[in-house]
Amino acid sequence: MKHLLPLVFVFAFLSTLHAQQRAVTGRVTSAEDGTPLIGVTVLIKGKSVGAITDLDGKYQINLAPQDEALIFSFVGYLSQEIPVNNRPVINVALEEDIKTLTEVVITGYQTKEKKNITGSIVSVATEKFAEMPLMGVDQALQGQASGVQVVQSSGTPGGGIMVRIRGNSSISGSNRPLFILDGIPIEDGALSSRSFGGQQDNALATLNPNDIQSIEVLKDASAKAMYGSRAANGVVVITTKRGSTDKTKINFRMQAGMIEPVDKLDLLNSTELLDLFQEAVVNQNPENNPEIAGVKGVTDLVNTDWIDAVSRTAYLQEYQLSAQGGSNMTKFYVSGSYRDEEGVIHNNQFTRFTGTATLDHNASEKLRFGLNLSAARTLNKRIKGDNFLDGVYSGALQSLPWFSPYDEGGGLIAPGDVGYAGFPNFNPLAQAIEPRFDTHTTKLVAGIFAEYEPLSNLVFKTKFSIDDNQVQEDQFEPSTTAIGGFLESVGGQGYGIYSTSEFATLMNTTTAAYNYSINKDHQLSFLAGFEMLQRTSRSSNVQGILFPSDDFTYLTSAGLVFSGSSFKVNSGLVSFFSEVNYRLKDKYLFTLNARYDGSSRFGRDKRYGFFPAFSLGWRVSEEPFLQNNRIIEELKLRASFGYTGNERIGNFQFLEAWASSTAYNNLPTVVPVNLANTELQWESTAELNVGFDLSLYQGRLSVTTDVYHMETSKLLFGVTLPLTTGFGSIQGNIGKVTNRGIELGINARVIETPLTWDLNLNVSVNRNKVKEMATDEPIFSGYQTSTNSTHIVTPGQALGTFWGLKFLGVDPATGDAIYDDFNNDGQITEEDGQIIGNAQPDFAGGLTSTFNFKGLDLTVFFQYSYGNQIINFTNSNLLNSGQSIETNQVRKALDRWQKPGDITDVPRYELDNTFNNRFSSRFVEDASYLRLKTLTLGYTLPKGFVDRYKLSNARIYVSASNLFTLSDYSGVDPEVNTFDGSTASQGMDFFTLPPVKMLLVGINIGL
């Protein structure tokens, strides 16, 4: 027995022990989709003892009696503390950490934690746009970021897109923001040198948006000052996806869909139009013969719907295969994609191949290097449009319905054939199908960098980058087209052009960064850098005519090569920049930054500019009085003030200059082209910004608001000179423009479980005003009208202000237009021009609503703009009161005045009468709209299912864009602009192809 005692003792002890210890088991899953979370740390509160979840998300842990709670934590998820309360099983669903304030933000030269940022920066992450059928990265910003206005100029694939950050600050310089891709400024506007009647191409369409990790928009002076002389219009910092230390993930995505015009303009048919024309002819002079000669017989047979004739249902397909992964030593991302998007106009197509690779390697603890490489090749099969007499869509809107695209044999009717419409309508379908307008673009963005860290808080980095764009335009218009055949003085027997251009930016950036902490309370960081940039553009073109036949379409067969050129221009920047950050107790944040730029675009005396900014942040939520507040997670107040500049005015504007002109009588000639202004210098923008970032309820509701006031002075300006000087204008620095605004961004998780509902709303309000100009005389722009021009720039008004006669109605007695006699002189003359509208919205933004339920998700994205107006200049031709009878008319023409007593707003039709068709507020319309921009319904296959096929994820979705638009605009769509990218001449619809609607299916599969 004496041997038993210890045993009993041991048992007794064990049973005591057993009585005091409790085993708890459970399973940890993701709150979002219920999948098990592997590797979650389960800690006993107050101890360093814990467990880790297994492959099924399960854990087991033994607790002492005094242990009250378990803490579950996992990277990327919100930690949870759960009281045990004697339960043997505790299952937990962890929520993803959506606290935005702990994100990092790439500011261009640095990466910072968002909580330490004192400037105004808005980030758009890849998830926001991954499933939208975007052509370019600029479209990704549309409706997603407050303070950013994005307008797609037309429905042409790969076409121009206007991006504005906080309004327009420049009148004649560019207002496009600076686009930085992985550290280098990239081409952002049109690359093609050939005009297509307002239908420009877009350099940003050469990049695949799905290779992009994030887009940061730098809005205030503090955020922008590091880009100095180029930053006044805001900066868009784009970062390519990079590798990770995880196991390699392979991802395949595809999209396929169909595209149609959003809507169609309602035009008259042959009978209606002929009646109208005959009325116009007789109204001109009752003795006129109302027979429209040579047409009557045709009319009975032909009634062509020209819009249908030139348009089609188009198709889109896109495929991308990418791999992302790495180790502690090396990280990589590689991706290839193919996209083929047809335009809704016949023969219009944009095809793109892209390849992207990024690499980061740690050679040692102190030395790192890496690269980024993006290459793309695009083929843009273009068509002429808008303000081109031989444009396709514009031609279809104007063409008379009694002409036909095909002859009886089914061939396209060409110049010289019976039934060819001739000038000015031609055969729009032939204008689409017959010419070859191929723009081939090759783009390469590459960068290599090395980083050396001699001390743990000192980093040197140098990076060499290039953005190279090669454009080749291969064009031929055969004798079956207007230029190649009908207009003998131009082409006659074919017209060919071949042009090449290259835009290359070479850059080196070298920085040194140093962090220093005196103690926990005082943290300092410094950055200093040097940058040298050189942009070269080279171009050449040849043009030829008199081809033996349409079988010969290249210039090698041209009978006469009559025009050719080659050209080169360089520009450059040499810059220093520096930033100092100081954090006091992690609560009070100070940033001082500045850039010193030298630019080749200005004369020796005014070449250098200094652009400083200062900003403050106060993290109120870190103060003791808010420490225990359960509602406020994070509150930061921010304020900044600083200066930025704009140098985008073209080269050599400061030089007086003479240029070679066409030889006269085989003798070379020079002619004056520019007056000198050696004092020419940067536009300077001073900007004050105050804002706050607020995050409530563990980040379920976050609000960011900014208020700003920008004043741009020394505007780069072509000051109008009287022509008696021999010149039309001289470049100067005169005038001021202000932009004031409020921006609001709200993110909310409205419902958490089991259905999650996230809401994202942004609103931007901007008030633009021209404060001062060179003289009191206004500047006119846009199209010429009887009162000068459609647009005016004048002090006290915003840019994009419309100018013309004020239309008061139609005189019921005479049927003539009544205009406001503004100067009360008893007659309507050009002196009666007045302000009749504005293209600037009162407010604009986007609303995204996302619902998730067990793997099903629905995203609804609305985009809106309120209070902006548009000039329906199309109607100056298509509702022209009989000024000419060469174009079709819109259905509203049937409402015209016909006899005394008629009450209508459409004046009577009289041939050659220009008075009733003078440009007036009759053509100005409200362009406010609410658009269901995209609607996406997706299904993510359950984890268990995809595991069975050894996939990491699988997802299928359908997406529709531009499904409907609420708008009062009588044209097809209010979101167009003929003057793609213009500042002074905004809000102009002149035969512009409207946006398109798309319906597509997408699949993402991850291995």
Binding site: A676, T775, Q784
Partner: protein, 457 residues
């Protein structure tokens, strides 16, 4: 701050590797910040020696070329020879005698004329400063410049009336310059022409270049407009007789007049395929008249050419398929795609002398000059012994012989026949149609022109 760059350069020189990376690849500050333009040169280089002066002088012919085409629009379309047939507001306004001060053609002619004045004045100021220029060449260059100044102001004063008389390149002064009465401008024109007289070659390479004949011809035209009949006759006779001019002869076939460098051409604007009239904005006449048919002949001139034109009716053609609506189906076909534009030719000189002689009651001489032109066109000779009837016949002859060469409106105005003739053509004819408007942008931007618009605008 250049010191910073100096420091930086020293720094990079001491650290050859960084220096090579930064400056080797990009070259350094100067080349980055001071690139040279490849397509333009500055004022100090454009006129630095005789060789460079040739290019600037030749540049004047470009202005001259641009001016000639729009001058034709003004001369024929502001009267009863041409009308609009398209949708372009500027032509509709001219064609309906309803021009506005912002009319594009009005500012194009004005701007082209003053663009030419800048180069003329630049040459007049700069040429005498050249060290290496021989006296004779200096005189020839100055004569060229002053001829073009006279040509420009003469066209301008006939189109706009009183004109700002710009005689220097001073941008500030020329921004605030008031109008000078037409009479004084015309005296200035006379001085320039008389300066140019006998300083230019008599027989240049072709009639696309200025010659002494061209100076005399413009003098003859000038004195005709000034109603100085003796001098008009004198200069016309000197040309016809070849006194210190080339030997000009009337072509026997009118069609040959329309080809480049005909025997009777005294001055013409040379076009070549390089000028690409279809796409250039400077009023390619073939494009306006034929390809686009923005502008077509009026019924009045069609009738005249049909009944009284003889071989000159070949300047227009009819196509029934085009006669739709308001379009009469007629096209001015005299300007082929790259054809030169006749500015002064011998037929005009004969008609100038005919008119000058008739005014001096030298009816026989006048009639014989007139009949030379009629004979060539294949229309019967006239036999008139009444001064007024002869003058009327000369007016009609000028209309058909010089149709679409930019004379009609100016002829009607100088003979004070405009109201009588044009009122019968259109009810829109008022006092305002006697002059084109001073472009609105000039009134707006030049304080000295504020309120100084032509009557009716």
């Amino acid at each position: 701050m250049k010191n910073v760059f100096t420091l930086f350069r020293q720094f990079t020189i001491q650290l050859p590797l960084i220096g090579a990376l930064l400056c080797g690849n990009f070259a350094c500050e100067e080349s980055v910040l001071e690139p040279k333009p490849v397509d333009r040169i500055t004022d100090d280089l454009v006129l630095k020696d005789v060789g460079s002066a040739f290019n600037v002088v030749n540049g004047l012919y470009r202005n001259f070329a641009n001016l000639s085409a729009i001058n034709i629009i003004a001369g024929d379309m502001s009267a009863d020879n041409l009308r609009h047939n398209g949708t372009f507001t500027q032509y509709i306004e001219i064609g309906t005698f309803n021009m506005s001060a912002s009319n594009g053609s009005a500012s194009a002619l004005w701007g082209t004329m003053y663009g030419m004045m800048f180069t003329v004045n630049f040459l007049i100021e700069g040429l005498p400063q050249l060290d290496d220029i021989p006296e004779s060449l200096l005189n020839e260059f100055l004569a060229t410049a002053r001829f073009f100044r006279a040509y420009g102001y003469f066209a301008g004063v006939n189109t706009y009336g009183d004109l700002p008389l710009v005689t220097s390149t001073d941008v500030e002064a020329n921004s605030e310059i008031p109008r000078t009465p037409a009479n004084e401008v015309l005296q200035f024109v006379e001085e320039d022409l008389l300066f140019a007289l006998n300083k230019l070659p008599t027989d240049p390479d072709n009639s696309g270049m200025l010659s002494n004949g061209a100076v005399k011809a413009l003098l003859a035209r000038y004195y005709l407009y000034r109603q100085d009949w003796t001098k008009a006759e004198q200069y016309a006779s000197e040309i016809i007789n070849g006194q210190n001019t080339a030997n000009y002869n009337l072509e026997s076939n009118f069609v040959d007049v329309l080809s480049d460098f005909s025997d009777e051409s005294i001055l013409e604007v040379v076009y070549s395929a390089n000028d690409n009239p279809g796409t250039s904005t400077n009023f390619g006449l073939n494009n306006l008249f034929e390809s686009r048919r923005e502008i077509i002949p009026r019924n009045e001139i069609i009738f005249e050419l049909q009944s009284n034109g003889g071989s000159r009716s070949q300047m227009i053609e009819f196509d029934a398929a085009l006669a739709v609506g308001n379009d009469n189906g007629w096209t001015v076909t005299r300007y082929g795609p790259f054809d030169n534009v006749q500015v002064i030719r011998l037929a005009e000189i004969y008609l100038i002398r005919a008119e000058a002689r008739a005014q001096q009651n030298k009816l026989q001489g006048g009639l014989s000059d007139l009949n030379r032109i009629r004979n060539r066109a294949g229309v019967p000779a006239l036999n008139l012994d009444n001064k007024n009837r002869l003058l009327t016949a000369i007016e009609e002859e000028r209309r058909v012989e010089l149709a679409f060469e930019g004379h009609r409106w100016y002829d009607l105005k100088r003979t004070n026949r405009d109201d009588a003739v044009m009122s019968a053509v259109t009810s829109n004819w008022t006092v305002k149609n006697k002059l084109w408007p001073v472009p609105q942008r000039e009134i707006s931007n030049n304080p000295a022109l504020a309120g100084d618009q032509n009557p009716g605008y």
